[in-house]
Subunit: 415 residues, 2 copies
């Protein structure tokens, strides 16, 4: 059983405690083994396989420098179907030029041959060191075992194989009866950890037995990511390898969900809950994280303004270190809010920690609430609400504190 | 004598080792005393005074939330003349509303009365805790002493009074014969340190005995700041209180320098050197800093592109922690370069540390230079050059590493 982190579960009515022995997503099987990329025989190659080609949706890193697997999978997913996802950790296969692309193609071609499917149906994904080549020969020898031992209940092995500095496996599952069919959706994530000298890559793979029209699948994924994974930040860096894939194999036998079908809201809720749970698991497992802070910016003149200001606060090293130090330091929050291109008027501003007012109409009211605020800031999960009172748009971002441990981990001190 | 930090002095031919006993800027006097804002009787009020109203130029924080002294001084400097600058540390007088503005006015009015000049000729400046009021009554009782004991040689006392977490006083002086007159220019800075719960405020005050036309003075300051103070970053945060003032009292008796006069280049050089030296001193004294890294981005399609990419690298916590850990981790630099809105093509990129190539035309050449690179990264001052090979524009930013000590200092652990 995966422990559900603090702060998760508020609006998760259909949460299923993941248990590998009980929950399977019909038609999907998994495996994770050691392919010789990482040291000490750690798991580093994972395979996710669908009995039939699945309708596929994907979202990829917006970094201009894209790893070979990102480029290849992005190209293949355009055809609409994916049947298997080959993932490795320990090497990003990024900044590796033509050879990197040939390596990705060769590994997927060999996997395709063993699975007896078209290479075009294979998605590839990598995370780890940038600028180094995959040990393709070594990996190739392991591919037959990887494919042979696929099993419905091996989700955890797959989750383990894609981990880098993650300290916990990140799996989320929901099930629900929709229109008479039992729909199950499961997701596996890694991130946002990094170990020298790689990056904070976020990989997320979601599978469901539902039948969904291709465009509906992509738009559900886009909307779900906007509300979940795109709202978390640990250090503001964007990986060359980020990838989120959603595969729907239709095994539930339902009439394919379309944007207009009434039942689609049921699937949407499940998907958004899985994404939100994985996002929370990622941020709670952030490197050196001792606190998870939601920054809500309200009553801005535009959503863009609200989001930009929320991100400015969320990225500020001064804000993040103050939270680590458990200092009620609202001046840093206001200063970070004021440094974007969007004007704010401090005289109009209200600021809260949880429900405790720190600033009202630009007047410091923190001193009279000091005791309550001091108690609040000692919690792991904290909400900051900045009300600009200059419009009607809201946005929120979930961030973490910045600890000396984050620096130590990322300075490359290997444990 | 102020030790000149490593990395300074390359192109500083006229550098004068500052010595309070020898160097004075004719017509300017200084003082710094304890006004009871800080604990333990530390100096916290400084006064800079010109015998005559000086032509004044100023540059102020771009944060939308501006401290009362910033607003007041910005308004006063528009009239063109400033005769005295009253500065305090320990309290930012920011986010203090009407009372904060009244406090700033009252302190400057009292100073004006003692100095027998118009309050409009007084600039005020503050750095320290946000959201708290100045102890005006306490400060008022010290103003007569502050004014009475002004002296030409008390530059160091002034420099000390404006310090917060700075570990060294920051003073730079140049002198030069220009057109038969002995021109002297001196600058005093604080930053970019902060102590709980205040901000990384940067204050810079520069004085010269030269006569300069007002518009020329402002444009020299603007250009100088673009090339120096605006190119350094420690944590990417912008204070509510940043202020740079340049006062020219004309005591040298020269024909006022205008943009068109041939002699202006002499003054310009001196001013830029003073600004550059102060910028270097600030960045070298950054909190928890063990390395100072210049990020050069070359051959971009526009200056904006070059600067945005340089800043993206300079702000990246992953890049900064890698330098702290002395890891030659070029993948993080490339990933940070690729995450802006400006496209880059990794295939075209060259990357150097000092003169050591790490990437050539998108090919990793770091392994063959590993030994030299490992030696280089152990130095305190490092230059990274990223050649995009997609245009003709260059930009550079000076940044620092990110150490556990930075986090500890800013988490509010008081020593």
């Amino acid at each position: 059983m995966i422990p559900v982190p603090a702060g998760v579960g508020k609006n998760i009515k259909n949460a299923v405690e993941y248990n590998a022995m009980k929950i399977v997503i019909p038609g999907f099987s998994f495996n994770g083994i050691s392919g010789g990329i990482k040291k000490y025989g750690k798991k580093d190659i994972g395979l996710l396989y669908s009995e039939v080609p699945a309708i596929a949706a994907g979202v990829f890193t917006r970094n201009w420098v894209k790893a070979a697997p990102v480029l290849l999978t992005h190209r293949r997913i355009k055809k609409g179907y994916i049947q298997a996802v080959l993932v490795n950790s320990g090497c990003a296969n990024a900044c590796t030029g033509k050879k990197g692309m040939e390596d990705a193609k060769r590994l997927s071609a060999e996997t395709a041959r063993i699975l007896k499917i078209s290479p075009d149906l294979i998605a590839v994904s990598s995370t780890g060191v940038i600028g180094e080549f995959l040990p393709v020969n070594k990996m190739s020898t392991q591919l037959p075992v990887l494919c042979k031992d696929l099993a419905e209940e091996k989700v955890e092995k797959f989750a383990q194989a894609i981990m880098t500095t993650d300290t916990v496996k990140k799996i989320a599952v929901r099930k629900k009866m929709i229109g008479g069919e039992k729909i199950i959706i499961g997701g596996i994530a890694k991130g946002a950890g990094m170990i020298n000298p790689s990056l904070a890559t976020m990989l997320v793979f979601i599978v469901t037995n539902a039948a969904v029209l291709p465009r509906t699948l992509q738009s559900l994924l886009d909307e779900g990511i906007m509300r979940s994974l795109n709202r978390i930040t640990i250090d503001g860096d964007t990986s060359t390898n980020d990838m989120v894939l959603l595969l729907a194999n239709g095994r539930a036998g339902n009439q394919p969900f379309s944007k207009k079908s009434a039942e689609v809201t049921g699937l949407k809720t499940m998907l958004f809950e899985v994404l939100e749970e994985l996002a929370q698991k990622i941020v709670n497992d952030g490197e050196g994280v001792t606190k998870v802070i939601e920054i809500k910016v309200k009553k801005a003149t535009s959503h863009k303004e609200a989001e930009t200001i929320a991100r400015s606060i969320a990225y500020s090293p001064l804000v993040k270190t103050a939270f680590y130090g458990e200092e009620v330091n609202w001046g840093r929050i206001i200063a970070a809010a004021g440094k974007t291109i969007f004007p704010i008027s401090f005289e109009k501003v209200d600021l809260f920690m949880g429900k405790i007012p720190l600033v009202k109409n630009g007047v410091n009211v923190a001193p009279q609430n000091e005791k309550r605020a001091q108690e609040k800031i000692k919690k792991k999960n904290i909400t900051i609400t900045l009300v600009l009172n200059q419009g009607r748009q809201d946005a929120s971002i979930v961030t973490t504190d910045l600890s000396p441990e984050y620096v130590t981990i990322n300075a490359g001190y290997k444990s």
